[in-house]
Symmetry: C3
Subunit: 356 residues, 3 copies
Amino acid sequence: MRNLLDPTDLTVDEIDQIMDLSLDIIANRQKYNEVCKGKKLATLFYEPSTRTRLSFTAAMMELGGNVIGFSDANSSSASKGETVADTVRVLSCFADIIAMRHPKEGAPMIATQYATVPVINAGDGGHSHPTQTLTDLLTIKREKGHFDNLTVGFCGDLKFGRTVHSLIKALKRYTNVNFVLISPEELKLPDYIKNDLCEENIEYTETHSLENAMPKLDVLYMTRVQKERFDSEEEYNRLKNSFILNTDKLKSAKSDMIILHPLPRVNEITYEVDNDPRACYFEQVENGKFVRMALIYKLLQWKSENRKTPVQKTIIEGPPCKYSRCISSQEPVKHLYQLSENGIYRCIYCEGPLEK
Amino acid sequence: MRNLLDPTDLTVDEIDQIMDLSLDIIANRQKYNEVCKGKKLATLFYEPSTRTRLSFTAAMMELGGNVIGFSDANSSSASKGETVADTVRVLSCFADIIAMRHPKEGAPMIATQYATVPVINAGDGGHSHPTQTLTDLLTIKREKGHFDNLTVGFCGDLKFGRTVHSLIKALKRYTNVNFVLISPEELKLPDYIKNDLCEENIEYTETHSLENAMPKLDVLYMTRVQKERFDSEEEYNRLKNSFILNTDKLKSAKSDMIILHPLPRVNEITYEVDNDPRACYFEQVENGKFVRMALIYKLLQWKSENRKTPVQKTIIEGPPCKYSRCISSQEPVKHLYQLSENGIYRCIYCEGPLEK
Amino acid sequence: MRNLLDPTDLTVDEIDQIMDLSLDIIANRQKYNEVCKGKKLATLFYEPSTRTRLSFTAAMMELGGNVIGFSDANSSSASKGETVADTVRVLSCFADIIAMRHPKEGAPMIATQYATVPVINAGDGGHSHPTQTLTDLLTIKREKGHFDNLTVGFCGDLKFGRTVHSLIKALKRYTNVNFVLISPEELKLPDYIKNDLCEENIEYTETHSLENAMPKLDVLYMTRVQKERFDSEEEYNRLKNSFILNTDKLKSAKSDMIILHPLPRVNEITYEVDNDPRACYFEQVENGKFVRMALIYKLLQWKSENRKTPVQKTIIEGPPCKYSRCISSQEPVKHLYQLSENGIYRCIYCEGPLEK
């Protein structure tokens, strides 16, 4: 049985398979109308997310399957103090596959340890959101035709933006991709990701200027500056309007550049831009449905033997993880830490560093 | 593509088509079991409404279709600051038709400007609720056989009751309908609707006495006095018990009068009345399901060419609408005002007057 | 038409029918895939309960039917002051069968008086939860093969635990069942149930020691100590850790004893116990789905003539029931009291004693 916790769980070859299946689904909708008939997807959303939840729901329905679940933690057993471990064991009796969104990091990984059906991470706090990454990849694939040889700009909140982190991790595995990181000083891409890029000799540049970066970009990935990521409202207000994309700034862009955004947007892309043919963020939404159809279908098919051979990693048991957003301290699990590239042990659930 | 924002969007002929289709659905349930197979309805309910939401849901299921959506704003992207414009563009990727309930007036009209699928207004604030009107019409059609030559009494809150306003607008297009308006002084039908009746030479009378009005009525439409429409609790308490229908008051009514109510009721119809054969409000609920089946089916079929030729109206751009319940100031739209019959410009979203 | 309000609504023979049908469903899943095609279940959950709601939902879907409903009172018409009586009459227009969870006792009984479709009590306050009892029975049936000649221990909160009360009522109808009641002094089984056991000459023993009771048990039914049942947090904290089951205490148990728990658990069974082959609480969850499939299917088939002849009971009309958790005072119903075994009149809705 296979799960999807992080985009890097998938090999490049597996991502290709999902892209190809998505394209086949788009080309031959009828063929897939009933392939999941009699199957059920459980959408366990411990925090609200209309877009992601309804995308999964629509995807399963278009495969002929059914959907059960809840859309916020208050209408779940979590309010009675039940662990994620118990909830997914229960849901495994009702559904054939689970999609989980949780505010705590590592919750979907806990789920994979207890569920008897495949689990898809539909977003765990600021940690990972792999189906968004697959969505982004499918959109690039459909619009540009390939992943190699692209200059990809990321603009806005590169510090907290998990969609950015994940897409960088996914794209750096392709040939000659280079990154332009456009953000205010306070919201720069975290060092550990930049260190990874350095170590793998992947080219990137950092800038505060969207205008300067614009002309060289093949892909411009805009992100929302989320209020909830800031310590104070004042700080948020000072930064939220930085790096707004409007038709004026677009003038210097390539004619075949594409604009992506994970949505929802607040004001970081003005509404006139929507009419520009380079704006692809609503196409992205539809691609999200198709790629989730492909993913659900694949995960229901893939068997364990299909699992990629995991890299042998050093794992030790340690004290409970102290990161406030990590779920592990609330769950009946061992506190495990994995040796990462730079000699630091990181919690296997949230990837936070081991604090002794 | 057609939408339904207001009952008057439909010509008398189109209403006849929907009535006829509803009757055919009632007579031949099997025939319609799978006509929407593979289609999805999105129910976007920004405020809770069990009855209306479940009526749409049941309707779509009885046509063989699926339903996705949310049942309150907290579990939607609205809580992240997303506009209705963006939400419906997203939902257009997931569903084939949208039913929207929103506390702000004009929200469904905004939706029609951005959605790529048909939109049904399932109630926008105090403004319009066209599927309730179709429900009322189908009930009158089934119970009385026709719309002409009826004396229709409306009782209760005629000031804020949008179902009353809409049904009056719909019925006045038929021959020899006359209205009896029964309400306390404070909750009288607004002048602009009475002016319309005058201009079109439609007979109406106003009264404070349900007893006096009773003997002449063919249809008695009761309404709920809603707490949320009042400025103070005191005012509400003084008026809420006015105009309660009980078995005693029914004694002077015609034997074939019918009693309608949009539900939920609080106490404006006593429970003994439920056993009177003239009580039709639960039949009304079932008719609501049938008429929504007909409407969904029609809207998925009707093409743009089928749209009635709009009356050419004078429209100007103006400042943002100042009415607190109008949605337009939060959305990426032009502030448009339309010249109405009495020389006043009215906001196209909420129909509130232009304040300069 | 038949309803299920309390496990004792079902005769021993009817319970056997439901058990047999459940076993047939388990053995022949395909056969039941579409038996409820075109039918709709309404899940009216006035308080959240993921497990029970999703169990009903999955059950109906696995019979080929559809599900509509709401998952908490806020997204229902109850927030507008609608009675349960009116809500179920409305829902009877949309669904073929209703499952209702309500915090107030007697709400599902009110529902049966107004609904025109079968009603299943999915839990009403601390009163009754018959589908949990059927779930427990099916698990005992599958694991032990029979209900006779069993020693059944109940551990934890026997005072407020409605699942305990119901299962005792159901099991005492079989031959040579005896009960071991393991609880702290404060949470002992209520006298009225023990009186019933005495009158029917059914053997039971009470103890404070789980260890002492363990060796003789064939079935151990663990229960959650629910915070909301206590007057103070202090009292809760003092008692909550009593009677925790761990692998150590299990050492003296029979090798074929089975451990049940209605879930969710908090900490009354440690996680190591999950790996013991005697732990059956997750099997119980799956059995809950199967038994609900059987029940839904039966209730859609059973006609009124199939109703067991009710015992003729003395019923009087009285003042409104004063028990704060009883729903009857909010609903348009007569306040009826039934003479119980010990000469006390009890409210027919909540079974609370008549206070004059």
